[in-house]
């Protein structure tokens, strides 16, 4: 296992422990697990990047792991469920801000419409509506 993959794997393991603490806040169980499912996979993907490990990256990840290991308050653990993956991504290089790429389709008859062009008028993107 490469040093990068090892750092990412250790971070993902620590992240799972953080999520275990956070999910004891019963009202936030769903949110905690949604975050954990999304970001744990993304942390592991950082370990598969081919870019060389930046100077100090492995030590930085260890410091981040030590920091979340100090947390005993599940509410603070929830705060870190979003922060920790980004700290790891800054250290290792790469991003945790996207989900897995959709599988490419080889259906040449696909006539699904093109996605709409981004709205360049407002200073921010409007939220997408996700019907449930």
């Amino acid at each position: 296992m490469s040093q990068r993959a090892e750092a990412a794997a250790r971070a993902a393991l620590a992240y799972r422990a953080l999520a275990d603490l956070a999910e004891t806040v019963e009202d936030e169980w769903q949110y905690v697990n949604d975050l954990a499912d999304a970001y744990q996979a993304s942390i592991l993907e950082l370990g598969a990047l081919v870019a060389p490990l930046p100077v100090g990256a492995a030590a930085a990840v260890e410091e981040a792991i030590d920091e979340i290991g100090l947390i005993t308050d599940p509410h603070k653990a929830i705060d870190w469920l979003s922060t920790f993956p980004h700290v790891v991504a800054i250290a290792l290089g790469g991003s945790v801000d996207h989900g897995p790429e959709p599988a490419p389709s080889d259906d040449s008859d696909d006539d699904s419409p093109e996605p709409p062009a981004p709205d360049d008028d407002p200073p921010f993107r409007l939220l997408q509506f996700h019907p449930r």
Binding site: G56, I78, L81, S82, T83, P123, L127
Partner: protein, 230 residues
């Protein structure tokens, strides 16, 4: 539709003291200039357990002496490493205020940061304002930050973390937009979240509140607040 200062009860008087603390303005001023990575560092420090600067420098080596980002030039024309050091010091001051106080400081910092970024457009930015509509009972909670030109006014609710997003907030924003539309006013309503867009979208995906007319500005998008009028 018209704007009005929020009533000042005991809670708002206490919170106004936090908002007026010079540390809030100092952190927000540094965050305006900061890169997304520096903003993540500040978020981590202000959420963090440890309060020794050296520890945080080791966690973010690319922002300080050893990393390439430290040699870049930041928005204030100084070396980015200087900005990172200033931001780290200020963030640690917030962390050292104690658990209860730091929570209030963090909220006030996001509001001040939002106001400073919006002010880059040159208009007047207001704080703690209610919006009143003809024939509609007034909402209890004021909006954190507003821009109030006669045409295309804007209201913003600011959150330190995506966890702060809830149905009440989303409903208030959507209702305001809807009531404004009833008066033929194009009101921009948005959430500003000092957290990842992905985390906010995960939070929103489980909400049944209507939100398709509500904007979202996340940590990585913050600079967009100051670049263009809607």
């Amino acid at each position: 539709m018209r704007f009005q200062d929020a009533a000042r009860d005991a809670r708002t008087v206490v919170y106004a003291g936090i908002q007026a603390d010079p540390l809030v303005a100092r952190v927000a001023t540094l965050l305006v200039l900061a890169s997304p990575a520096e903003r993540w560092m500040a978020r981590a420090v202000m959420n963090g357990e440890r309060t020794e600067a050296e520890f945080w420098r080791r966690m973010f080596p690319t922002l300080f002496d050893d990393g390439p980002a430290a040699d870049a030039v930041s928005g204030d024309g100084n070396a980015a490493g200087d900005l990172a050091e200033s931001l780290l010091a200020a963030s640690l001051e917030v962390a050292n205020r104690g658990e209860q106080a730091r929570s209030q400081f963090r909220g006030a910092i996001v509001e001040e940061l939002t106001a400073k970024l919006l002010a880059r457009r040159g208009g007047t930015v207001r704080r703690e304002r209610r919006v009143l509509f003809d024939g509609v009972p007034a909402e209890i909670h004021p909006y954190d930050v507003t821009v109030e030109p006669p045409s295309k006014p804007e209201v913003y609710d600011c959150k330190w973390g995506a966890r702060g997003i809830n149905a009440d907030v989303l409903n208030q924003l959507d209702d305001a937009q809807s009531h404004a539309a009833d008066e033929d006013i194009e009101l921009t309503v948005a959430l500003v979240v000092f957290d990842a867009r992905r985390s906010a979208e995960i939070r929103l995906d489980r909400s049944r509140a209507r939100r398709d007319r509500t904007g979202l500005v996340a940590l990585e998008d913050l600079d967009e607040l100051g670049t263009a009028a809607p």
